[in-house]
């Protein structure tokens, strides 16, 4: 039954130029946009999962964020059609991340304290890669015997990540946790593809060093 539903504007699998994407949305209207969102849905879900504050997770679901984002996106689709200098995916991603940030702000605004203040997005990209990465990397390494050392380790990893260049760290997060490709990263961060690529290698090598220090200390 599913296959028989109307599928007038299937989002093409192969990459389109930005102009083609605009044309696609302009002609296809909301159905086209829905197609595109559906196409990117799980990627976006992943991004939200990665970016969301753990404290917020208890209150809202990834689906809530995406739902709200899609609403915003469908209201603002004209902005993309009128011309933004990034590809459709990168634009959609930015909207989703922005929605997430807004939602976090709303949810935390009532109970602001110094601690939370620190966790609120502060970089140019309004994102929290540093903490998110540290959290993810360390969650994996948590075993009962390590639980006690965990918070100290977390601090160290976090400060090591903090020592990284903001943009490098962001590049790293986008490439691996969000699974963006180099071109998308470049667009999202307004870098040249070459610069994005170089930063990526630098960041991932640096991360390797950090992880190595941590594991030798464990041993």
């Amino acid at each position: 039954m599913a296959a028989t539903g109307p599928r007038n504007a299937m989002f093409p699998q192969e990459p389109l130029s930005i102009e083609d994407e605009r044309e696609f949305l302009r002609k296809g209207g909301e159905a086209a946009l829905a197609d595109a969102l559906l196409f990117y849905h799980s990627k976006l879900e992943r991004i939200v999962q990665f970016r969301m504050e753990p404290a917020l997770r208890a209150r809202i679901d990834t689906a809530d964020v995406l739902q709200e984002s899609y609403l915003q996106i469908s209201r603002r689709a004209q902005e993309f059609i009128d011309g933004v200098p990034v590809s459709l995916f990168v634009w959609i991603r930015q909207r989703v991340v922005q929605t997430l940030i807004d939602m976090q702000r709303i949810h935390f605004s009532d109970k602001r304290n110094a601690n939370r203040e620190k966790e609120l997005p502060s970089t140019d990209y309004g994102q929290t890669s540093c903490l998110s990465i540290a959290r993810f990397l360390l969650d994996d390494r948590t075993s009962p015997s390590m639980a006690a050392a965990r918070s100290e380790e977390f601090e160290r990893l976090q400060s090591a990540l903090q020592a990284m260049n903001d943009t490098d760290r962001e590049v790293l997060a986008m490439r691996h946790f969000e699974q963006l490709n180099n071109l998308q990263v470049a667009e999202a961060l307004n870098l040249s593809p070459t610069a994005a690529s170089n930063r990526y290698i630098r960041a991932v090598a640096k991360l390797g060093d950090i992880m190595k220090t941590l594991s030798t200390k464990d041993a």
Binding site: A3, A63, V204
Partner: protein, 1005 residues
């Protein structure tokens, strides 16, 4: 993108870092589940070997973690299915029978039990995630607990070789989605032939389709019925070969007519079948209707009834599951199986859910799921009613054979907006209106408008089947509602906002309650009662009206809550008790007084009023003005005179704006009410101004108010107008008496100025603040004013002898008259006025023995008209008696306690000449009460003031100098340390008196 194909030469594309290109490829391979060796890359690119090692190791870690931590369905390639082993634990796999977003279904043999089962093997992509794994296990367990004739039994679940699976009852049947597809192609001549999706030689989709079209599916069929249907199955076979007639169901129907069980039901069906057979055999429906409308089919009545029965059975099963707290979450035709016995089965219970959406996203299967999901489910929430919605959509599609939504994908964007059903196929068809109504009710966008539970849904379907009136309203509330929401976005958002507000009020009540411990239980009850009431009333209303009225009623409820809170607050702690509404039912007052928390509470409520007013087209300025006035009242009673005046000014300004903008007409009721509201505010402003010592302002307000009354001839003549005027005159008059009152709460002295007689507007003799008119002058004018008030009130009481508020006002004016007469030295006049005042109050008390307000008023009158003279002792004794009666009912009521303390203190004065010890004793009693009040309400100035006053008198009465000094020190301490700014300001004037007393004590021997 594959490493092997690309060779080594493309490592440098001139744009990216060469290692990046390799790294990307490496990461992609990891994500595909490969385990590429790092050394492979090192060997190929020795120039980057060390960088590759560092970078790749790091990537391997990050990828491993990120694939574990994040659901990686997006990147899991659909092709990477594990090769299914021939044996999985206890199960020997025979063949694949179906594929879904979550996995593959096999027919298998459970070797230990020698039974055939359906084995669903979960996609590796879905099962990699730990969280999903646990959830799967948990839900498989809860599904295994479901035993129902229409639910596919889950036998158990397990995990072998990293593959998760669950075993369930094998149903020899087809899905309803296949049936729908088949019917469409059968009824639409030009449609492409459908190929059977489940290639089965046992029971074909077409058999099922014909079955639905021709026969009646018996509900809860016993073995006899099953057998009968098995026999009749041959007819499906025949008809399936004969494509042209699905109307040839005569045999099947006739066969059924002979069946003995369920006689009643069968009779009904017979009737239906016969009628149907006639019409359908004479006139093949499909071709005829397709001419008229390609999208509408005219389906035989039997089909419609069969569908209704199927769905009723599914609803019955859902109800059963919901009672066990198991939601299906993915009811769709593809999850409903129809077997050859005509039984419908729900499959995948509790197992299909979000993760299905995850993994299905890329395959397009999500479209199938999205179409049946309730709007709130798409948005990530929902309760049991999501299953009702989904089942409603199934019903819709079975009845119309068209998709419920033209563009289900759009529902992803904005489920509420894009969930408007394509109702035309339903309406155009020959589907009975009742069934249309049932369908639309089940698929209502707002869960509140759906059936509350599956059994209600089932009941309506059964009522429909029995040709009895259904319970769903026949109005097309669905369309009406959406239309209404579009038409009335303001009210729709009002509904939302007032909802928020109610929650906030509830929260505030909770907080407040904690602070005030004793007070708010009654309010809570009131609130609850109002809500229940509202709920009951709403039920009775039509849906559209209901929504609108709910918005309005919520507002009303909020206003009522405000009223209740206010009444509670206002009737507490009023030593100046003046605004208790005697017409309304007395609230059983609890023992609290006004506090900062009250003001905070009211102010926050007020901000909601303002918000409501701003966000909605509804004009709330009236309510806001009223709220401001009430806040002013509270502040006034708390002694926050400046703040109170400001609040009143806001109220007045609002009212004046309304009067200016509205087509103000003082002759109609609304206009008069508006005038009276303004006068009411002005009246309070007179009071605050006088209390602040700003008599000039008080007089201006008085004149303003009087002009307002007289500006409208009708109002001036009306009893309300006259009453308002009398109250105005009384209050301005009584203030001239109060400022020189020797006893009682001391009003801070301020510049007093002359005020002219009421009729000398425009020619007032303003004098500077330094020029105080002589006391007798003020008394004279006060008397005149009070006489005027008295004569109006007497008239009013004569006209309406039963109106308590007139009577009370008259009693008060007479009480003031007592004061004026005493000032004039006219003792007999004073006694006469007092006895009249008392007799009015006494008769009120007799008439309303339950109304404590009157008793309080009586006691207060007895107290304030008593002085220090021994002959006053009798009245004071009476007052004390009344106070004790009142306190018996509400032992902590602060107003009663304060009055009792005042009575004791005056009694002490009256006893002083005769019995000094008794006097001392009484005063000590008073201070005990006053101390308690002050401790409980540190921010209410009057309580601190009363105590300080009493302590000063104690120092005078106390014969032992040491004790007297103690009292004095206590008084000093209170003045020095008490309360906030408001209280402090009120206490400062006492400092001089205290110092004076200390000097007197020190100089005493």
């Amino acid at each position: 993108m594959d490493a092997a194909d690309r060779g080594d030469d493309v490592v440098d594309d001139g744009v990216r870092h060469p290692v990046d290109i390799l790294a990307e490829e490496y990461a992609e391979r990891l994500r595909r589940g490969e385990r590429p060796a790092i050394s492979e890359y090192e060997k190929k690119h020795p120039e980057y070997a060390s960088l590759i090692r560092t970078v790749f190791e790091s990537i391997a870690t990050v990828e491993r973690i990120s694939s574990q931590k994040l659901s990686d369905s997006a990147t899991f390639p659909q092709t990477a299915r594990q090769t299914t082993p021939q044996v999985l634990g206890d199960f020997q796999i025979l063949r694949e029978i179906g594929r879904g977003g979550m996995g593959v279904v096999y027919e298998a043999i459970q070797q230990s039990l020698h039974r055939r089962v359906a084995l669903k093997v979960i996609n590796a992509a879905v099962s990699t995630n730990d969280q999903h794994r646990t959830r799967f296990q948990r839900e498989a367990e809860s599904a295994a607990g479901l035993h129902h004739t229409n639910i596919v039994q889950v036998y158990g679940s397990g995990e072998e070789q990293g593959i998760q699976y669950y075993a369930m009852q094998l149903i020899d049947g087809v899905t309803l989605s296949d049936v729908i597809q088949c019917l469409r192609s059968m009824l639409t001549p030009n449609a492409a032939n459908t190929k059977p999706i489940y290639p089965t030689n046992r029971f074909s989709i077409r058999d099922a389709a014909n079955y639905l079209l021709e026969t009646t599916v018996s509900h809860r069929n016993g073995i006899a019925a099953s057998k009968r249907e098995l026999e009749s199955k041959s007819s499906f076979r025949r008809s399936s070969r004969n494509q042209s007639t699905w109307a040839g169901g005569k045999t099947a129907s006739e066969e059924q007519n002979n069946a003995p069980p369920f006689a009643e039901e069968m009779t009904l069906e017979m009737h239906q079948s016969t009628g149907d057979v006639n019409s359908s055999s004479e006139q093949p429906v499909a071709p005829a209707s397709s001419k008229a409308n390609p999208h509408s089919f005219s389906l035989p009545k039997n089909y419609i009834r069969n569908v209704a029965k199927l769905i009723a059975n599914v609803a019955n099963a859902l109800e059963y599951a919901h009672r066990q707290q198991v939601l299906h979450r993915d009811i769709k035709p593809a999850n409903l199986l129809l077997d050859k016995e005509g039984t419908v089965w729900i499959t995948d219970f509790g197992l299909a859910r979000r993760m299905d959406l995850d993994s299905a996203t890329q395959t397009g299967e999500v479209l199938g799921t999205l179409r049946y999901m309730a709007p709130e489910q798409i948005a990530g929430g929902g309760d049991a009613r999501i299953d009702i919605y989904s089942l409603g959509i199934c019903l819709f599609e079975l009845l119309t054979l068209t998709p419920a939504f033209e563009a289900p994908k759009l529902r992803l964007l904005d489920p509420n907006r894009h969930s408007v059903l394509q109702t035309s196929p339903l309406r155009n068809s020959l589907i009975p209106r009742d069934l249309q109504t049932i369908t639309l009710k089940a698929c209502a966008i707002d869960p509140e408008h759906r059936y509350r539970n599956a059994s209600e849904f089932e009941l309506d379907l059964r009522l429909f089947l029995e040709d009895r009136p259904i319970r769903a309203r026949k109005t097309t509330q669905f369309e009406a509602l959406t239309r209404w929401a579009r038409r009335n976005p303001a009210i729709a958002s009002l509904a939302a906002l007032s909802g928020i507000m109610l929650v906030s009020i509830a929260c505030m009540l909770a907080v407040w309650n904690r602070q005030q411990h004793l007070s708010l239980i009654e309010i809570g009850d009131l609130y609850e009662k109002a809500e229940t009431n509202l709920r009951e009333k709403s039920k009775a209303l039509d849906d559209v009206k209901k929504e609108k009225s709910r918005a309005e009623a919520n507002l009303a409820l909020a206003t009522n809550a405000f009223d209740a809170i206010f009444d509670n607050i206002a009737s507490r702690g009023s030593t100046l008790a003046s605004t208790i509404d005697f017409e309304s039912e007395e609230l059983d007052l609890s023992g609290t007084a006004l506090s900062e928390a009250d003001v905070d509470l009211l102010e926050s409520l007020l901000s909601y009023f303002e918000q409501l007013g701003e966000k909605n087209s509804v004009d709330l300025r009236d309510e806001t003005a009223d709220a401001w006035k009430r806040v002013g009242d509270i502040q006034q009673k708390m002694g926050k005179l400046d703040e109170s005046h400001e609040s009143y000014e806001k109220a007045l300004l609002l009212l004046q704006t309304i009067a200016k903008h509205a087509n103000f007409d003082s002759t109609n009721g609304a206009g008069q009410r508006l005038l009276l509201s303004q006068i009411g505010v002005l009246q309070e402003m007179i009071q605050t101004s006088a209390m602040r010592g700003r008599m000039m302002i008080a007089i201006d307000r008085y004149k303003e108010a009087r002009t307002l009354i007289e500006s409208s001839g009708d109002l001036a003549k009306s009893s309300e107008g006259r009453f308002a005027l009398a109250k105005l005159i009384n209050s301005i008059g009584s203030f001239s008496a109060r400022v020189q009152r020797p006893n009682g709460p001391r009003v801070p002295n301020g510049p007093l100025s002359f005020f002219g007689p009421p009729d000398s507007r425009g020619a007032e003799g303003r004098t500077g603040p330094g020029l105080l008119p002589a006391a007798d002058m003020r008394a004279r004018i006060g008397t005149e004013l009070n006489q005027e008030a008295l004569s109006i009130l007497k008239e009013l009481v004569e006209e309406s002898p039963d109106k308590a508020s007139y009577a009370v006002s008259l009693a008060r004016a007479l009480r003031d008259e007592v004061r004026f007469a005493r000032q004039r030295g006219d003792r007999s006049e004073a006694e006469q006025a007092l006895s009249r005042s008392l007799s009015i109050l006494e008769s009120l008390v007799t008439k309303n023995p339950e109304a404590r307000g009157f008793q309080y008023e009586l006691a207060e009158t007895l107290v304030v008209t008593s002085g220090w003279r021994p002959q006053d002792a009798e009245n004071l004794d009476r007052a004390l008696h009344v106070c004790d009666e009142l306190l018996k009912a509400s032992p902590y009521n602060s107003a009663y306690l304060a009055l009792k303390a005042t009575a004791l203190s005056r009694m002490s004065m009256a006893q002083r000449p005769a019995n000094r010890n008794r006097s001392l004793e009484l005063l000590l009693q008073a201070t005990l009460i006053q101390q308690d009040l002050m401790d409980r309400f540190p921010d209410v100035p009057i309580y601190s003031m009363n105590l300080v006053e009493s302590l000063i008198r104690l120092t005078e009465l106390e014969p032992k100098p040491l004790k007297a000094k103690e009292h004095l020190d206590r008084a000093f301490q209170i003045v020095a340390s008490r309360g906030g700014k408001g209280v402090q300001n009120k206490l400062t004037p006492y400092l001089e008196r205290l110092k004076e007393r200390r000097r007197a004590l020190d100089s005493a021997p």
